[in-house]
Assembly symmetry: C2
Amino acid sequence: MSDSFIETIQKSKTGSGNGTALSCYETPLVTVDIVLCTVIQNQLKVLLIQRKQPPFDHMWAIPGGFIHVGETLEQAASRRLYEETNVDSIYLEQLGSFGQPDRDPRARVITVAYYALVSAEKLQVEAHANAEEVGWFSVNELPELGFDHEEIVKKALAKLKRHLQDTSVAFQLLPDKFTLTELQRVYELVLAKQLDKRNFRKKILASDLLKDTGETKMEGYHRPAQLYSFASHRLAETH
Amino acid sequence: MSDSFIETIQKSKTGSGNGTALSCYETPLVTVDIVLCTVIQNQLKVLLIQRKQPPFDHMWAIPGGFIHVGETLEQAASRRLYEETNVDSIYLEQLGSFGQPDRDPRARVITVAYYALVSAEKLQVEAHANAEEVGWFSVNELPELGFDHEEIVKKALAKLKRHLQDTSVAFQLLPDKFTLTELQRVYELVLAKQLDKRNFRKKILASDLLKDTGETKMEGYHRPAQLYSFASHRLAETH
DNA sequence: ATAATAGTGTCTGTGAGACAGTATTCT
DNA sequence: AGAATACTGTCTCACAGACACTATTAT
């Protein structure tokens, strides 16, 4: 959809001038692009869409698109995520803008990038009623990406890592009720390293972000785990 | 300068359609805006420019402008700073994009904001050969700002604060050789709180970022201070 | 009994912050 | 001698990280 829009702009660029002092193609286009992350099968995954036209035909790219009239940047990102996943109110964080003059070979396109987090639970409910090729890729096994999307994904993962440590974003990747082991797994996946169980629990419980729901979760033939929920979503924010 | 460009766009908007499927005004304009900080007279100051046209006529605003063809976002910001200060190679850090639909009453304008740091020393060399009203304002006594620039400045100062603590940006606000007391003053101004002299020196010297130049600086009738220089500009970077 | 995961406490080292007195230079 | 700033070391507390065993559930 973004692509057909750029084609139109391109035509006006190659056609004869229209008399105004400044033509469209001298002003850059603006998009939003989103690195949507979730945890599936014990892996940190990113949502990608397979391209159907040049440039970068057949390659994968992160979802994105133009900003509609009257929309804020966040709303545009949110809308695009809804279009791809049928989930709304997905957690979004702005990552920065990418504007290398040649990042899109067709036209000058500046993108405002976001990273987004959803729990796999929310995704399961909705099927992909979408004709596009859409896929979840493990961050360790990303295909080659079009445009500068590899750079954007890398920055997103780096920012998520930092963010995880001084805020409480981890909960965005979990269902409302979760065990401490599940929470630790999220930390381990994002930070890409193992954590000590006792130290992790000590720190998390000391932070006072969790509420013991009293419920337990049985999974397999062993001692059931306590279920916790997140107490104060907006605490411990540094950013 | 940005303003006359927006006027042109505005005319094409109110004039009759030109036949293309998508006219210019449906695509947002993009600018860069920069919060340039320095330390003058023991105060943290921000560069502002007084506006000469509506909207926000007579009010102050941070410097900014459109991106030229072929320029990266950073280059555009850098160029605008050079135009205002005659100083180049000013330290720049991207802050984020601001895109509220109504932030500019004339047209949809999305801005990519930067914060920038210069040492007062570099500024002293060059005089303002500029016709515009330009001024350095203490961050504690900012005038009312046009557009959403107050929000941008606040975010810049917050980011600078955070940044100061886990990187070595402080040096961007100092001359090449400086005393530990001067360095501490920069920290105190940015963090807006007093620091203990012994703890500060202990921490800074332990970080191994400084090189003792062997020189000293006499100022007043008292013991002269050691001059240090910054050892490794790119160490301790988190971002 | 066994398998499988949940859950728990101590010790050590490091870094942050509180705190006061001596050193050096010039008038 | 006095004024003004440079410079220095110790103690305490909180937090991070290393580390191993008991508890509970189902088969």
